[in-house]
Assembly symmetry: C2
Homo-oligomer: 330 residues x 2
């Protein structure tokens, strides 16, 4: 057990989006490490928050249902030592049909959180869940943190703002903040009910139910994938290590995989399901970014992080999880 995990014993730690996919996995690990965990979640419909995600941890994690837009945050942040800020709207499609709501959830809410910290707990450190989405269609591969930002949808734009707000509150107001630019994350407790939060949860649902997956285009687009335990480890490192302050870091998998290879592996591991290739729907083609995989050398050098879970192992665990608990996710 590394220092960055020992750091959390007895610490007061808050997780926004704590009933969501990554947030709940983070809460569970933090509780296991002996932290006093406060999970804050709005439980807005369709956003991924799911009370079952903290099943078995009801006595170890304090749950506070609240929208982060509002004065509740001014009370909740007090006394916290680390805030993992994972609240957000992650649907690219929804951001194009309802850009105002995406703005509210991904920008206005971030200002509420940061203003609460500035006014009531400027000593708290904050780790923001950013996204590789902000790079848009890569100009070169792998994509490092110097790559131009070129978002292809409103969600990507608003996630840029959310990240920059953190960096400016770090530099101007002295609130220690950093951002992890997440790639495709998969694993237990992800929303799989609808397909508006990315393809991997949706594919997982179809495999678990033995349905036929539809892949847009030829499925040759290569992406990198992080198992959620690896993503959680990156958050733990960023929250514990001062080398992270004021910085942004890419996360990424160990090797890019095509969507078709990913799908075939899922089907093989599950022993059920099928797939077929269909033409790209016009509105998705416009915001698709083709191949994407990240250069993760910065976080490896600074925080010692690298993904350790093999895709095959992570997918097998994920399938087993949904086989056991799918009634809570459908």
């Amino acid at each position: 057990m590394g220092d960055h995990r020992d750091f959390y014993r007895g610490r007061r730690v808050m997780v926004t989006g704590g009933l969501g996919f990554i947030g709940s996995n983070l809460c569970r690990t933090l509780a296991d490490l002996g932290a006093q965990v406060l999970a804050v979640d709005s439980l807005l419909p369709d956003y991924g928050g799911n009370p079952f995600n903290l099943a078995g941890y009801e006595d170890k994690v304090r749950i506070n249902v609240a929208d982060v837009r509002g004065h509740a945050m001014k009370h909740l942040v007090r006394g916290q030592e680390v805030l993992f800020n994972l609240a957000g709207q992650v649907s690219h499609m929804d951001s194009m049909t309802d850009p105002f709501t995406d703005l509210e959830i991904n920008c206005t809410s971030q200002l509420w959180i940061l203003e609460a910290l500035r006014q009531f707990n400027a000593d708290c450190k904050v780790v923001y869940a950013g996204t590789r989405q902000i790079y848009g269609k890569p100009r070169y591969l792998p994509v490092d943190e110097q790559h131009l930002l070129n978002p292809t949808d409103v969600n990507g734009i608003n996630k840029i703002s959310g990240e920059f707000y953190h960096l400016v509150y770090n530099s101007v107001h002295g609130i220690r903040a950093c951002s992890l630019r997440l790639t495709n994350t998969y694993g237990p407790r992800q929303l799989i009910r609808h397909n508006r939060q990315g393809f991997i949860g949706w594919f997982m649902k179809q495999v678990v139910l033995g349905e036929q997956i539809q892949i847009y285009g030829d499925g040759a687009q290569r992406r990198d994938f992080d198992y959620v335990d690896d993503t959680v480890d990156a958050f733990l490192r960023a929250g514990a290590m001062e080398q992270a302050d004021g910085e942004v870091f890419n996360l990424g998998g160990d090797a890019p995989v095509s969507l078709r290879d990913l799908t075939e592996l899922m089907i093989e591991l599950a022993g059920r399901g099928s797939y077929r290739l269909i033409p790209f729907p016009e509105e998705r083609k416009k915001i698709d970014i083709g191949d994407f995989y990240a250069d993760t050398s910065k976080i490896k050098a600074a925080l010692g992080w690298q993904p350790v879970t093999k895709l095959r192992d992570g997918l097998a665990r994920t399938i087993a999880y949904y086989d056991a608990h799918k009634e809570h996710y459908l």
Copy 2:
């Protein structure tokens, strides 16, 4: 008279922020070129909108006072051929003390405008007033459009969003849009009453009144300056030329000038005023960016634009303007 000026004869053109500094100069030029001009302005206090800016043009420019956040835009955009989108909040300091208002003015309002176009007039072309502020402290000089975005304050962040919204509505919704990243612009009709919208208007006021200017630090920071007529010409080119669609362009002066040299030139031309150097206030030092000047080769190559007004001539004209009309700006 070039093609890009002839283009506007008889065109229906709308200018948001049309009673502001650059917006009003643009409206006047457009009216002179024979366009049917609609100036929309919220006239929010302290933002720069000033009815006197269209003095003498009351019969040539239709003025509609309205906040761009709201349903009024859905009616106002109809039938327009070009929308020059200059509405916004430009105070860096205000954005740090009241980030929510800056978000409303610079992000929410832009979505209202773009959604109005998407729903009711997707054939209208839009030119957005961006800012060099989004680059933050330069990593190299001169700064070209490939330079990383690294805003130092909330205003810079929200101006990035405003620009990216336009580019995404261009690529996804087919609304022809582009952005001009303005540098320090000076000239007649600028707000000079307070110092929260940049130093040049504030210095102008003090010179005109024969007061003592305070320069932060040693005044050696070099910046580039555009006389407003040159800036207006860039907007006219961007609005008329299809080479601009989907693009961002730096504006910039012909040669960088230190703040101290600028101040001395203003004092010399006015024949009054003085200056002294004072230490940087802490809250301004944190968001100051040091030297900045832009590489403008992209807009020169694509749209044939370059600044033509000598700093000495532009400043002399500006001083003469405020000497004649200062009672409307104090």
